[in-house]
Symmetry: C2
Subunit: 458 residues, 2 copies
C-alpha cells in the first residue's frame, strides 16, 4: 500500500446526507424508561461518531422548582403548567441554538411530551429550523415493569433527593396519575409524523414514516434494547507467544502463562459473581489466542460458544508482526502520526480504531439483544467495546490500560454501567504503551488478586 | 501476518445460534407484493450466505389446476378449497423435509395464508418440527399500488399465460374479491406470534415479539424495501496507473485514458437513459481513483456525492501493490488456494470476497432505501454488488468479467433485475484474469460502443 488511505469512513457510513439534523422527541408517561432510552441512544450515537446530546426538560424545570410535589403536575395547577411550559421552551431554544451552531446532528428531547398540542409545537418549531423530528413513544402497561422503574430510578431522582424512598414513590405515583389525566398517545391524527412506538419494552414496535437512513439505524438500535438484568464480561486472550516478544498482530498461540490463565478463567468468572443457573454465552474472535483462552471455560461449563470475525484484533497492516521499536524505526512518521491521533490513525493497509468501531457495530447490536455474555477478545477491540458501555471519549479510549489476565465485569444499570475488575494471580507481560514511547512489555509483578474495585460511570 | 486467518465470519455474523431455523410466512391478499418481498428476502439471505428457499403454494396448486378462474377461489367452492388446502400441505411437507435434511435455514412460505386457522396450522406444524415462524403481512389500501401490481405482475403470471391481459386483470380482481370475503388480518388474537405488518409498502411497520438476531436483521431488511421505479448504475473507476502496470490494490491516480473515461462518464450516463428531472446520487469509495472518475460527473450535474469506506477495494493484504505474476511467484500456494476457492480465500492480512460482502451489507441496506444511485467503485466490490442484484452464485461472482470503461445500468423489476451495459469508446487494459492463469492486462481493442444489450435475470 503506497499511501495511507483517507479515513472519512464514519460520517458517510451513517449519514445519508451531510446536513441531516434530527430531534428525537421522547413521549410517554413517567417511569416508562424514556430517560434510559434517551441516554443509551446518545451513548450509541457518540460511539459511532455522531454528535448527539440529550436535552432533559426536567432539569430545566428544576432550576426554578427543584423538588415539586405531585400537585405541581396537576393539569388544573395553572402555575405549575406555566413553569413546565417555560422549562420546555428553554430546552427547545437551547437545542435549536446547539443545532444552529453547527455542532449538533441528533438532539434528544427528554420529557413526557404527553399531549398532541405539545408535540405539534415541537414539530413546528423544529420544522421551521430545518430539523427533522422522530417521536419515540414508550408505552407500558405491565405493572411490574413500571414499579421496578419507580423504585429503582425515580427514588434516586434529584426531585426526591434526601426524602424517604417510600414517601417519594407514593408522591411519584400521584405525579403519574396527574399525567395520565391528560395523556394522549400518538394516533392516526399524527400519522404524518415520523414516529416509533415501543410497547412493553419493545415486545411490540410500531414504526411510521421513517425517511432517512440515520433515523432507520437509530430506530433499529432502539428496538433491540431490553431491560432484563444481566452482566457482560470482557477479557483479553491469555498472554500470547507474540506478546512475549513484543510483536503486534499475527495469529500466535498462547504462552504457558496464557494457558494458565485459560485454566484459571472458569474460577475467575465464578468468583466475579454469577447467579445460580445463569446461562452465559462465550464469544471469541476467530484468532487462535482467544479460542485457546476460552477453551477450558467452554469445556467446563458447556456454555454455547460463538466465533466472530468482527472481534478479530485491529489489523495493523504492514506493521503486522513487528514490534513497536521496529515500527518506530521503519515508519517513524507513521509512528508519530499514530501518537498524534490514535483514534483516527489507520495503519498502512490496515485499520484505525474508527474502522474497528464500524465493524463492531453489529456486535453492539447483538450485545444489546443478548443477556449474559463473556467476550474473550483483543486489546483494541476490548477498548472499543468498553468505550461503548462506559461512554469513554474517542480520544481517550485507544490509550486505556487493559492488562492481560484480568476479567472485567460490566453490569448495565438504568443510568450507566457498573464495572468490577478481577485480576488472576498469573503474571504476564504488560502490553500497554504510553503516548510518545516505544517501550512496552516489561513483566509486571505478580500481585495479590485485586478484586472488588467497583466503579460506576453515569 | 504469519498465517492465513480462518474465515468462518459469516455464519457467526448473522446467526445467533447454529440451529435456528425460521419459516417466514407471507400473509396478505393477492397483489400486495408478497412474492416480491419473498423473492428479495431470499436473494438477500443467499447473498449473505444463509441457505434460503421460497416455497410458493401457487406453483404446487398449478400442478393440478394450472389455469383456474376466479370461481376456483370462491370460499363456497369446496372442491377448490380442498385442492388449495392440498397444495398448502404439499408445500409444507416439502419445506419440513428440506429443514430436516439439514440444508435449510430460512424457508419462505409464499401464499395468502389469509385466515387465522390456516396460520395456526402453519405455526403448529413448524413448532412440532422445531422451526420458528415469522409472519410477514403486507397490507395495502392504496388503489394505485394494487392496480400497478395487478397489471405489471399478475397478467404475466402462469395462471393467465396466453390470455388477454384485460380479461386476466378482471378475473384477477374477482379472485381478490373472493379472498377478501374470508380475509382476517393478524390481530390481538395472534399476539403471541412473531410477526411484522407492512402497511402501504413499509410506510408504517408493526413488529411483534422478535426473538432472535437473524429475524431482527431480516425484518430490518424488509422494512427498508420500497417499490418506487428507479435505476442503479455501476461503474469501475477509470483505468488507473496501477492497472497500466498490472499491480493490484494501492491508491494510485487514474491514467490519461482513465481521465478520458471520467470526462466521458456524464455523456455515457445520459445515453443510458435518464428520465428528465431525475435526481441521482453519486457514491464513490474513499480511494483516489474512484473520486477522480466521478469528478466531472459531479461537477457537470451538481448531483450529491458521498464517499464510502465500505466501497473501498478488496484489501489484498501482503499482496497489495504486487502483480499477479509476483503473487504466483512469491506466494505460489496462496495463488493456487485462491483459484481453488476464490470466494472464501482471504489474502494474508487482507480480505476475502466473503469479508467484502459483510462490509457491503449496510451499503445494500442503504441502496434498498435509496432511489437513483450511480456507484463508482472497484472490480471486486462491483462484483459483490452485482451478485446481490442478479442473484449470482457465490462460486461464480468472483470470476465475473467487469471491463473498465463500461457503465452497467440495473433496473429492479418485480421479479428480478434488468441489466444493460454501455461501453465508452476509450481503450483500457483488461484486468480480468482467467482461473489458473497469471496472465492479464493486455490492451483490449477499441471497439464500437456496444450498447443496448438487455439481459434479465429472474
Amino acid at each position: 500500500m503506497a499511501a495511507v488511505r483517507r479515513g472519512n469512513g464514519h460520517k458517510s457510513y451513517f449519514a445519508s446526507s451531510d446536513d441531516t439534523k434530527i430531534c428525537v422527541v421522547m413521549v410517554g408517561l413517567p417511569a416508562r424508561g424514556k430517560s434510559l432510552i434517551a441516554g443509551k441512544a446518545m451513548r450509541y450515537l457518540a460511539w459511532v461518531g455522531i454528535p448527539a446530546r440529550v436535552f432533559n426538560v426536567g432539569s430545566y424545570r428544576r432550576n426554578n422548582t427543584p423538588q415539586p410535589t405531585a400537585t405541581f403536575f396537576d393539569p388544573h395547577n395553572s402555575e405549575g403548567e406555566k413553569m413546565r411550559r417555560a422549562a420546555a421552551e428553554a430546552a427547545m431554544s437551547d437545542m435549536l441554538r446547539w443545532f444552529a451552531s453547527g455542532k449538533g446532528v441528533v438532539a434528544i428531547l427528554d420529557a413526557t411530551n404527553s399531549t398532541r398540542e405539545r408535540r405539534r409545537w415541537i414539530y413546528e418549531s423544529c420544522y421551521a429550523a430545518n430539523v427533522e423530528t422522530l417521536f419515540v413513544e414508550s408505552i407500558c402497561d405491565e405493572e411490574d415493569l413500571i414499579m421496578n422503574n419507580i423504585l429503582e430510578v425515580k427514588t434516586t431522582s434529584p426531585d426526591y433527593k434526601g426524602q424517604d424512598p417510600e414517601v417519594a414513590a407514593l408522591d411519584f405515583r400521584n405525579r403519574i396519575r396527574n399525567y395520565e389525566k391528560v395523556y394522549e398517545t400518538i394516533d392516526d391524527n399524527e400519522k404524518h409524523f415520523t414516529y416509533v412506538k415501543l410497547i412493553n419494552v419493545g415486545s411490540t414496535v410500531i414504526i411510521n414514516q421513517i425517511k432517512d437512513y440515520l433515523s432507520s439505524r437509530l430506530v433499529y438500535y432502539i428496538q433491540n434494547l431490553h431491560i432484563k438484568p444481566r452482566s457482560i464480561w470482557l477479557s483479553r486472550h491469555g498472554e500470547s507467544e507474540y506478546n512475549l516478544v513484543g510483536k503486534i498482530g499475527g495469529d500466535s498461540s498462547i504462552s504457558e502463562r496464557g494457558e494458565a490463565y485459560a485454566r484459571a478463567l472458569p474460577g475467575l468468572l465464578k468468583k466475579s459473581g454469577v447467579p445460580p443457573n445463569t446461562k452465559i454465552v462465550i464469544w471469541t474472535s476467530t484468532l487462535r489466542r482467544t479460542i485457546q483462552t476460552a477453551r477450558h471455560l467452554a469445556a467446563e461449563t458447556g456454555f454455547e460458544k460463538l466465533e466472530w470475525k468482527a472481534l478479530d484484533e485491529l489489523d495493523s497492516g504492514v506493521c503486522d508482526g513487528l514490534t513497536y521499536e521496529d515500527i518506530a524505526q521503519k515508519y517513524p512518521e507513521d509512528f508519530a502520526a499514530r501518537d498524534e491521533d490514535k483514534y483516527n490513525y489507520r495503519y498502512r493497509g490496515g485499520e484505525s480504531y474508527r474502522d474497528v468501531v464500524i465493524r463492531l457495530e453489529p456486535i453492539i447490536m447483538e450485545l444489546e439483544r443478548s443477556e449474559n455474555v463473556i467476550i474473550v477478545t483483543h486489546q483494541a477491540v476490548l477498548r472499543c467495546i468498553y468505550a461503548y458501555f462506559l461512554n469513554t471519549p474517542q480520544e481517550q479510549s485507544p490509550w486505556m490500560e487493559v492488562p492481560l489476565h484480568t476479567l472485567i465485569k460490566l453490569t448495565p444499570r438504568a443510568y450507566g454501567t457498573d464495572e468490577q475488575r478481577f485480576k488472576a494471580d498469573i503474571p504476564a507481560v504488560s502490553t500497554w504503551r504510553a503516548k510518545g514511547t516505544s517501550a512496552k512489555h516489561q513483566d509486571y509483578p505478580t500481585t495479590e488478586p485485586k478484586n472488588e474495585v467497583p466503579a460506576t460511570s453515569a
